[in-house]
Symmetry: C2
Subunit: 225 residues, 2 copies
């Protein structure tokens, strides 16, 4: 049924913000790989409704819950909420997330008539803000530059991108690289410590600019690795 | 002798900081494509000495000069100097660079026992600092993430990377994309406006982290374009 690596066996993946485009896409792909997934939302009923749309026959399960319940249920918790409200949400979930690997995918971006641009973040990056709030969790930064459109393709369709995985704890970045690898075509590549997260989050603005110019859904591959 | 595009015919490329690893590599590759190149340095004698080592038989010319003379000679001027002193140098060359396309390749990085990290730049990025100083020039940002080691391979050896080209003037970014394309294997991809330059400069820290982890000379390809 699946080719999930040993490191992820029996692990439940929670996706906070799992009703948004990026969260939905990741949840569906994780489930398609055979992993049990729970998506979180402010509204548990909406999460349950969306969850039902993300399961492909014969694959893993997707259930919906409010954010605290989802955070509690996840062994690995992916944070795919909008930047606006990111810190406030995490403050309310510190207890549920304690002792867990938290994967922050949030891109602090602004938009105007010239397109996307990176926002200044007081803590340096969304990932560093998360680590500052979640002192008892291990924060890893990943999945920033994965096209939600590509994720929305059928579960078996490869996504042509590498994912830069950043963090300060090797065991956690290795685990998240394994999680990247369950999505067909995707490869997790170690990309440094959390202090270098800002530019990976912000690079999404450049890919959005390229998407506008070339009418594409750009991803990226790291060469020579 | 060469396959240089029409947009670059009869164009001289100046490389300021042309005696450093990145500058040397770019100068040699541009010359190998058949373009006339002049490298600049504080020390004209050193520039001349290094220039003599960069010419491959049958290709373009490389000459050396002090930085003002090189800046004056170039139709397109590549800035590959160290970040330390970047602004001070450009302030002295505003007259020579007026009316020209200036290609900033500078990565404002710091290094400590944990590796490389992005420095805060008051103007946002090296490229924006350059544009602020060079009001009469058109600044484009490119060539940040090209491995100097790969550039140092023989002129015909392909370099497996795309180059993100950023700028606010379409004609200038198109021209610099053409310049990227004269290096075998390299493709220039439009990556947005100068306000999004910081993260492209800073991403070099992530590639350095990956290089340390994987013992590689990482580059990057933008997918779906």
């Amino acid at each position: 049924m699946s080719n999930i690596p040993e490191s992820l066996s029996n692990k439940t993946i929670a996706v906070l913000g799992g009703t948004g485009p990026q969260g939905r896409g990741l949840a569906r792909r994780f489930a398609a790989a055979g992993l049990p997934v729970v998506i979180g939302s402010r509204d548990a009923n909406r999460a349950t409704e969306i969850a039902a749309t993300l399961v492909e026959p014969g694959y893993g399960t997707v259930t919906g819950a409010d954010n605290p319940t989802a955070a509690q249920a996840g062994d690995i918790v992916v944070v795919a909420v909008p930047w606006d409200g990111h810190g406030e949400l995490l403050k309310t979930l510190a207890a549920e997330l304690a002792g867990k690997v938290v994967v922050d995918c949030v891109n602090p971006l602004g938009f105007d008539q010239h397109g996307a641009y990176a926002l200044d973040v007081e803590e340096g990056s969304a990932a560093q803000q998360a680590q500052g709030i979640l002192a008892e969790s291990i924060v890893v930064c990943a999945f920033h530059n994965v096209s939600a459109v590509s994720l929305a393709a059928p579960g078996s369709a490869p996504v042509d991108t590498d994912v830069l995985v950043l963090g300060d704890v090797r065991e956690a970045t290795d685990l998240v690289q394994d999680l990247c690898g369950v999505i067909p075509g995707v490869r997790g590549v170690y990309g440094g410590r959390l202090r270098n997260a800002h530019q990976v989050e912000a690079l999404t603005a450049n890919l959005i600019s390229a998407n506008r110019r070339y009418r594409a859904h750009a991803g990226m591959r790291i060469t020579d690795i």
